[in-house]
Assembly symmetry: none
Homo-oligomer: 200 residues x 4
DNA sequence: GATGAATGAGGATTCATTCAT
DNA sequence: TATGAATGAATCCTCATTCAT
């Protein structure tokens, strides 16, 4: 009995995932250029040729990984509201950011790595800016709602703090343990915002 | 009659600098692996072969760049004191960090890039940790001196903020303008520390 | 549908032989260092890259040639006995040595060449000594069985004679024709042994 | 006081010898192709450029070494007579051959090495044949004078024995000690010649 | 869909040789 | 005479990509 089209589709999907997983692992660990298609194929347990059955080129494979990553971010992070977030919502958003990175270190390591080498994945910085935009906006709204004197400025440093903490988690998780850092960052953000009423 | 030893030394010094400059530019821009010796030579205006008269290998060239960078950091950053830094000293230290990065974006872009790909320059994370150690200590001392309840925790988030701000400067200086960011970060740090007396 | 494993194996086996043959020819003729992978590939009718699909490096290719050569020697030369060889056995052994070299001049030229340049194939002298050991022993036994006064000394000069004759065959077969030389050497060896009863 | 022309000449001669010595050492040890001009210059304590002041090319340097070697052989070996050598003269001639090689292993290692790779020093085999010619002739004369039935055949195997012994000395002096070998070879040669009266 | 042999362009590295000083 | 910086051709080797089966 021949497989139905659906089964084929399923197989294709799974194999593709297999390849992408292997690639992500290696790209994140060793970098895009230092990773060969051979290595990816071996890790995925397939032949070199088959990889080209699923991806036009090594660059396209990278691109799909990037897209995949951004899609996950988009799904998880959409500030599903346009109004002013509550304190809980805001805190939960920060927390989610950390969890997202913590649960998918490889994607994020790859992202950061690519952002520092924009020649590889051309549009990554733009995409990242695009994804970040609504988050910045949401942050800004929230901070401003607290009567802050310089909401933009505080948003900048809060973003910095988050970004920096995520970087520590990605690059040196052993130095600054994730859970502690997350907790402290959330706490710190609120302290900054609270202290923003009477300055600047 | 041959040139004097001094003349040779002079030539070597200048040419070496030339090569390192070209390499730094390209490594920072495109990444280590995506940069070929040919490109470096062309940019430096020399022949491929000559590069090997100055550096044993591409890797060694990278290593020298890294060492050079760290040396500059070391020189600029040594917290020339063991006691508790004054507020001015502390602020000036933060400011210097920003200036250091701002004045040498290429080195720093390379550093961050390498830290995310430790396979390339083996010991870079260790070296960075080594360089950071005294700075962490100094921060800790300063924060603790302010009667902070959790100096270590605050140090973590302040470090994060600085690191994140530097990352923004390196990767997206157009979004968050350096001078503004620097000023806001310093301000933010003091607000955090001040607010750290009564919490946690 | 891909080829079966057997087909692949067959292809690999044949192509490998092709490459090794080309390499042996060129190494023997021009020497290891003076032979480039390009030349080998061209002679074998393949691309440069493919050579590396079969051999990790030029050195490994050499090593496999050496091993191949020694294996053939081992197979052909094993003195399949521990006792005292008869006159016929002994003569046949000498004859076989000559034939072995005569039938595989290229391998032997390579061997001799490498033995004179031990930097290239590190262990070749040891391997050669290892292979020669049982032959020396067999010779010694035979000579001693003839009541020789100094079997070791006679073995030395007989070995020298053989080695020297082989060298002539390898390097200047046109001067001393192989068949004649072989015959004369065998005759000479017996004369030496016979004359060894009353001297020294 | 400027040096006289003679002094200059002297200096040139000495420096040239210096370079040739270094080259010989390295060529013999590692082979012609594996030895770079840089290495030679360093070993000779001069600059790369200067080497080219004395030798047109690396190949010419080799050629001069070869010529030098052959000249020494010629000087030492000329059978300064056309008549039949006496037993003592013959024995002394063999002995001298061994001493010549033993005292100048490097030249001889180079020679043998080149003879096996005629591509490098084009005419070496011819030259060697040329040098050997009178020696063969002398041997032949001597052997024939002993009433030998097949002087040419015996000359072949005696030459082989000598050549082989020299090869052992060059390549594996530790296995067959030179002095012993020399003595045994001379003895063996006489035994062969003596036994040549009643056979073949 | 699946395989891995095959290609060839490109990259790191070496080295004989030249040349300004 | 003497130096070593400089060149560029040649070499080893890698790897993305293609393709016959």
């Amino acid at each position: 009995m021949p497989r139905t089209e659906k089964q084929f589709e399923q197989i294709r999907k799974e194999k593709k995932k297999l390849i992408m997983d292997a690639a992500l692992e290696l790209f994140a660990m060793n970098g895009f250029h230092a990773t060969s298609i051979s290595q990816i194929a071996k890790k995925a347990g397939i032949s070199k040729g088959l990889a080209y059955n699923y991806f036009e080129s090594k660059n396209e494979l990278l691109q799909e990984l990037v897209d995949q990553g951004f899609q996950e971010v988009g799904e998880m992070m959409q500030p599903n509201q346009d109004g002013i977030p509550s304190d809980e919502e805001f805190a939960s958003f920060i927390e989610k950011s950390f969890d997202m990175v913590g649960n998918d270190l490889r994607h994020w390591k790859l992202f950061y790595s690519l952002m520092l080498q924009p020649t590889v994945a051309e549009n990554i910085n733009e995409k990242y800016a695009e994804v970040s935009e609504p988050l910045f906006k949401m942050m800004y709204t929230y901070i401003a709602s607290k009567g802050n004197k310089d909401p933009e400025g505080d948003m900048m440093i809060i973003s910095s703090m988050i970004e920096g903490a995520l970087l520590y988690i990605i690059v040196a998780t052993d130095i600054f343990p994730m859970e502690r850092l997350k907790e402290k960052v959330i706490d710190g953000i609120f302290r900054i915002i609270e202290s923003g009423g009477g300055k600047n």
